[in-house]
Symmetry: none
Subunit: 262 residues, 3 copies
């Protein structure tokens, strides 16, 4: 039992890392499910737009969800247009915004990386006709394959001939290499950023740890105290309503004080 407690305690301690891990796994699993069930290359002139939308819009939706469900977004935004100038410096806010964006972009990056490793989207994307993309994206696939190749290109993901398989194998390799490059560069960037962030910190490692414990405790205490305070206030108000008596005066913090502690 003691050891089980230790394991659970470790989980709670590393809950940020575990949370991001679970999120990534969910995004990866969702992508796999999605590409199996919903995605189906149309193999015509729509291929390009369709693949682009199928790959990028879910990532955008995950990004928006990441912002929507994070309570720190609202703590940062609430009242930021109100005229309380001396709340917190512009630099501190940008920092918090950066942290928010980093947290929210874990799931979209996982989605795009898994989509590239999966390669179904990329095959469909490159073989479709693309008025916006540079022409060499398609022409390089038909360099030594004769005239008919360019016309048949958009039909290849749905065919199973030898030539189509060669092109598809080539595109699959390219897609996976792109996916790995994306993963490696995002991870390196994250590591370098965290390193610089920690390295420039003016306080020591143990002090940061202490302040994290303190902030958690303060949050707990605040909630407990707020519940107690609210219960008292509510009882007074309801009581005075049913008894038709005038409410007694009650001491509660003002607007300015709330702003200072936020």
């Amino acid at each position: 039992m003691q050891n089980f407690q230790t394991v659970l305690g470790q989980c709670v301690k590393h809950k940020t890392a575990l949370g991001y891990g679970a999120l990534s796994l969910l995004a990866a699993g969702g992508e796999q499910l999605f590409s199996q069930v919903v995605f189906q290359c149309p193999c015509n002139a729509w291929s390009f737009s369709y693949s682009l939308v199928s790959m990028l819009v879910p990532a955008l939706v995950l990004l928006l969800l990441g912002f929507l469900l994070n309570s720190r977004t609202w703590r940062l935004l609430t009242g930021c247009c109100a005229p309380f100038p001396g709340r917190s410096s512009r630099r501190c806010r940008l920092r918090v915004l950066g942290l928010l964006a980093a947290g929210a972009s874990v799931a979209p990056f996982t989605w795009i990386a898994v989509a590239l490793l999966n390669a179904a989207y990329y095959e469909c994307l490159v073989t479709g006709e693309q008025p916006l993309a540079p022409p060499w994206l398609r022409t390089r696939l038909c360099l030594d394959r004769g005239e008919a190749c360019m016309g048949d290109l958009h039909r290849m993901p749905c065919e199973s001939g030898e030539e189509a398989q060669q092109v598809i194998r080539y595109l699959r390799a390219e897609s996976q290499v792109l996916g790995w490059i994306l993963i490696a560069s995002v991870m390196s960037f994250a590591l370098v950023c965290t390193c610089i962030n920690h390295c420039r910190s003016p306080v020591s490692y143990l002090q940061i740890k202490f302040w994290k414990i303190y902030m958690e405790k303060e949050k707990e205490m605040f909630e407990a105290k707020a519940k107690e305070h609210a219960a008292k206030l509510a009882e007074r108000n309801v009581h005075s309503f049913f008894e038709c008596a005038k409410p007694e005066p009650f001491q509660t913090p003002g607007n300015r004080e709330w702003h200072q502690i936020s």
Copy 2:
């Protein structure tokens, strides 16, 4: 046990988000079940009307259910036709109505989005004859396919020939792109609205949190007190009836006071 408590506490804390998530999942699952079991394209002149009704009426039903099952609807509506002019400002009411509509439209939007991603409805919708819709919706499908194409169009969702499959693949891609665009725009709109709402708030984040706790406590207290008060009143009335005695005077709040606290 402590950790299990923590997990449950987190669930209760995020109950709004979890509730909407569960609602969306239910709507999506229901749509899938429905399109598998009930929906079957008739492949004749009825196709258009049938698909439109099958797609929009369930969404409408979900919307009405959303309004019906939300207790805030009734709090807002009760007595709003009665002549108590000074209850609450018109602006505050519009705000509450907006929140209500936003909450009630989560399920219908999920339904329509999943229906578009599923593409079965859209295929049937576009290939059917449509006296109301613009003619280019159908003609663009037969641009380079000869004269017979237009006549066969409404039979395509039930056929498995090469030409029918090409048209169906095209329509499926179009439907999914439309679905993703709908999802992305609704989510962006929701995020922007919530941002503006929070940003223009005159009170701080922690104060909003405190008032939420307070309102919950007040609701609890009010129910407890109302039960107690009602029990006393009922006892007095029943007692005085059986004893054929005149009821003692009892202090209870008047109509005007009830209106003020609503």
Copy 3:
């Protein structure tokens, strides 16, 4: 029950060794899953780059993850650019960095070793065209097979003819030999390093054991005390906020003291 406790106690005692073992098993399992599901030799000019990226980038990602998730990295880095010159000697830091790197490179080495034992990557790597690699890597495979061999080489991992099978068998054996040599040399190097490290230690074995126990105890004590201190401080602050009273003075360690104990 007694025996179960003993087993669990042993597990906790050897948790470092068990942790690295579990990590290695996970890396090996992931590699197997990955090479089955995602990796597919393109059998064209891309073979070489594709295999190299598929083999090395996951190892790099595992290395970066190893650094990111290890709390010792952050203890070492935090505040190392800040102007507190007399914290710890450069030599001691290099030592800690070495230990970190050793711990973080367990998973990547397992990945590469399992990839070499698996041989799918190596077959694809050697048979692909390689502008950067020395030419004898490919030519030795076709020494007594005639002219056509060199041209067909990159298609061999996808073929099942007798000649292709001979070359593939040869490459598979080579890959596994390389894998075993890698495993043996890394393990020998680790053993020699640990030996030298222990041998040059100025304190005795039991003293090191005692200091390990002491450090664990100190960490536990510090955490318990920090929680208590944080709880007191939080209670004081929250209390003074709701009562609108001025907070009492509270004794807490300064920045310099935190730095000295880190």
